[in-house]
Structure formats: structure tokens, C-alpha cells
């Protein structure tokens, strides 16, 4: 189930629908706070009531940024767009994880490497095979990285989970052998 939901939550469809639902909900809340009906909003925006109804519909094909801004302005609110920039925060954390993973599995998978801020990824200078760099191998690397996790208390559990995950994704020792051969 979590996998099903996980895929959905990381899809572009979800990103799209989530924003639309958020805007509709926020506008609804703003109207309630201001004591405005949809007819009032239509009057204030100088549009038909049908157009306002459409803004709250499931498909809402007319929900442009301009219309959203006008709607909030008509209610007496200002809308602010804030981007959580999740990727940036994650990248920072990922940098550390990748570094630690690379360090921990240096002899196994990667060979020589150096960090580059230009591509924000490890720049691999050794000769490597792409198939050696599958998630299973990274999982193995993280699993063996003693310093990878801040909560040392649960390190053993996490390592066990990584092991389970490797088994579940049918990672085999031959993957590792292959990696070693080209490391």
C-alpha cells in the first residue's frame, strides 16, 4: 500500500492536483472568513457565477494564476506563493549520504572519486560500469556506512531494513561481485 501511495505522492499528477486542491480550499476558507458567498465573489470579481462555480469544480479548467490572484484580491486577501524547495534541502542531506556511501564502499564500487559542486554530484574519475551503480549497491554502501545515520541508536535496525530491502529487490551477491570486478 505504501508503495502504491508513495508512487502517487511523488507523481506530477499529485503535484498538480495538490496545488489545485490547496488553492480551492484556501479560497473557500478566505470566503468563509470574509462571510462571502460564491455569488458575492462573482459580483466582486465581475464574472459570472458559473465561472466561480467552475473554479471550485473538480476539473477547474479555468483556474489560471491571474484568476486566482483576482479571486483572493476580491476577498481582500493576498496570495503568496512559497516554494518549499524540498529538493535543495534534500540535496544537502544527500550530499552527505553520497559522500559517506562512497567512502564506505570505496573499495567495493567506486574507485577514485571527488566531489564537484558544479554538477552537485560525485565526479567519478575511476573506470566504472553503470550497472554497478544501481540502487542496490548504494543501499549496500549505506548499509555498511557506520556514520551514515545521525540516530546511532537505530543504526542496527536501519541496516537490517536495508538488508531486507536488498533481499526484496532481489539484489544478489553477483551484483556486488560485478561491482568489485569493475571497482
Amino acid at each position: 500500500m505504501n508503495n502504491d501511495l508513495g508512487e502517487l505522492l511523488s507523481s506530477s499528477t499529485f503535484a498538480e492536483e495538490a496545488l489545485v486542491v490547496d488553492v480551492q480550499s484556501a479560497l473557500h476558507q478566505a470566503m468563509e472568513n470574509a462571510g462571502l458567498s460564491r455569488a458575492d465573489l462573482a459580483r466582486r470579481m465581475n464574472v459570472s457565477k458559473a465561472r466561480v462555480t467552475q473554479m471550485f469544480s473538480d476539473d477547474c479548467p479555468n483556474l489560471t494564476l491571474r484568476l486566482v490572484a483576482r479571486a483572493f484580491h476580491a476577498v481582500g486577501e493576498q496570495i503568496e506563493i512559497s516554494c518549499r524547495c524540498t529538493r535543495n534541502h534534500e540535496k544537502q542531506a544527500d550530499h552527505e549520504l553520497v559522500k559517506q556511501a562512497v567512502r564506505a564502499s570505496e573499495n567495493v564500487v567506486f574507485g577514485d572519486w571527488e566531489w564537484t559542486w558544479e554538477t552537485e554530484a560525485p565526479l567519478l574519475t575511476g573506470e566504472i560500469r553503470q550497472e554497478a551503480l544501481e540502487p542496490q549497491i548504494i543501499g549496500r554502501a549505506l548499509q555498511s556506512a557506520e556514520v551514515a545515520w545521525p540516530e546511532r541508536k537505530s543504526q542496527r535496525e536501519r541496516r537490517q531494513r536495508a538488508e531486507d530491502w536488498l533481499v526484496a529487490t532481489r539484489s544478489s551477491e553477483s551484483d556486488l561481485m560485478l561491482a568489485q570486478a569493475h571497482g
Binding site: 500500500m1 505504501n2 502504491d4 501511495l5 508513495g6 502517487l8 505522492l9 507523481s11 499528477t13 499529485f14 498538480e16 492536483e17 495538490a18 489545485v20 486542491v21 490547496d22 480551492q24 480550499s25 473557500h28 476558507q29 468563509e32 471550485f56 469544480s57 473538480d58 476539473d59 534534500e90 544527500d94 549520504l97 553520497v98 556511501a101 564537484t116 558544479e118 554538477t119 552537485e120 554530484a121 560525485p122 565526479l123 567519478l124 574519475t125 566504472i128 553503470q130 551503480l133 544501481e134 540502487p135 548504494i138 543501499g139 549505506l142 545515520w149 537505530s154 535496525e157 536501519r158 531494513r161 536495508a162 530491502w165
Partner: protein, 172 residues
């Protein structure tokens, strides 16, 4: 930067976003979800979303119908459920707070529904495992009509009564 190393760098960037994220999210978040799942297995339910004050869970039988829905309405519904958990205001198009009462003996629950594209996700609210919880019991996929299917509506009410008869005394 040579093309060989550049391509290696690019490849790692791809891995960085896909593979590592996959590993990381598994290691970081699965334990919390696993714990939540274990909590609700006793009720034959799965957690959908959870916030500080409220959560939404779904009965297994409803979940089967839920995963069969198209991606877009499913995405929309999950977001609406997330907002419900956060206590945000929902529009009448998103949520119907009164789909009728489910009454039998001492059981008396209000059936409610998350909605989109004519689809209705029926459930009710109660306190469960220490938190306000919306328990989804049935899904009306609206294949035949946009209006509520009375057969499914009645089945949803029966399922609420069944759930309450079985688990009613717990954590209320």
C-alpha cells in the same frame, strides 16, 4: 571535464535523484509507516495520511476499489484527505459532512464522504489509537452515474455498523 567523466557524473545525478532517493526514503520513512501500519492491521485498515491532530485510514476492502480509480481523482482525493487531517476548510465539492446516519442499537455514526469527479469515498470519524481518525469503509467509483449509488451508500452504512460492532469499544 572529459566526456567520460561527465557522463559518469550525469549518470550519478540520475542515480542521485532516483536510486538514492529510493534507498533513503525506504530507510528513513518505512519504519514509521510500518509502525503505523501495524497499529491499524488489527482493524483491517491501512494508513493513508496522518497529521498531528487527525489521520485518515482505509479499510482493506475499500482500498481495493480505491487503487482501481484513475490516477488524477486518486491524487485529488489523497490531497483532500491530507487537508482534512490538517483541519483545513474543505469545499462542498470536496467533502460532504452528512451522507446520513448509521444507526443500529447503540451504534449511531454520521456517514461522511470525500468527493471528486462523482466518486465518493465513504467513512466516518471516531477516535482511534489516540487520535481523531476518519475511517474509510467504502468507495463509490461512480462508473454508472454522477449521483450517489444508493446500493453502495447503504453498503457503506452497513460497513460502518459492522466496524463499530466489532471495534466500537476501543479507544473511544
Amino acid at each position: 571535464m572529459g566526456s567520460e567523466t561527465a557522463s559518469a557524473g550525469i549518470y550519478v545525478t540520475i542515480l542521485h535523484t532516483k536510486g538514492l532517493q529510493c534507498v533513503k526514503s525506504f530507510l528513513n520513512s518505512s519504519s514509521r509507516m510500518d509502525d503505523e501500519e501495524k497499529d491499524f492491521r488489527q482493524f483491517e485498515c491501512r494508513p493513508i495520511c496522518a497529521e498531528a491532530l487527525a489521520r485518515v485510514i482505509m479499510r482493506d476492502e475499500a482500498f481495493k476499489a480505491f487503487v482501481d480509480l484513475e490516477e488524477r481523482p486518486r491524487a485529488r482525493l489523497v490531497r483532500v484527505m491530507q487537508l482534512w487531517s490538517k483541519g483545513m476548510a474543505l469545499t462542498p465539492e470536496q467533502f460532504n459532512g452528512n451522507e446520513g446516519r448509521c444507526q443500529r442499537g447503540s451504534i449511531n455514526r454520521l456517514l461522511q464522504a470525500f468527493k471528486t469527479h462523482g466518486i465518493r469515498i465513504y467513512g466516518f470519524t471516531r477516535r482511534l489509537v489516540g487520535k481523531k481518525t476518519f475511517v474509510i469503509v467504502d468507495v463509490d467509483p461512480a462508473k454508472k452515474q454522477k449521483r450517489a449509488d444508493q446500493g453502495i451508500l447503504n453498503r457503506a452504512k452497513d460497513r460502518v455498523i459492522y466496524f463499530e460492532a466489532k471495534y466500537g469499544g476501543q479507544d473511544e
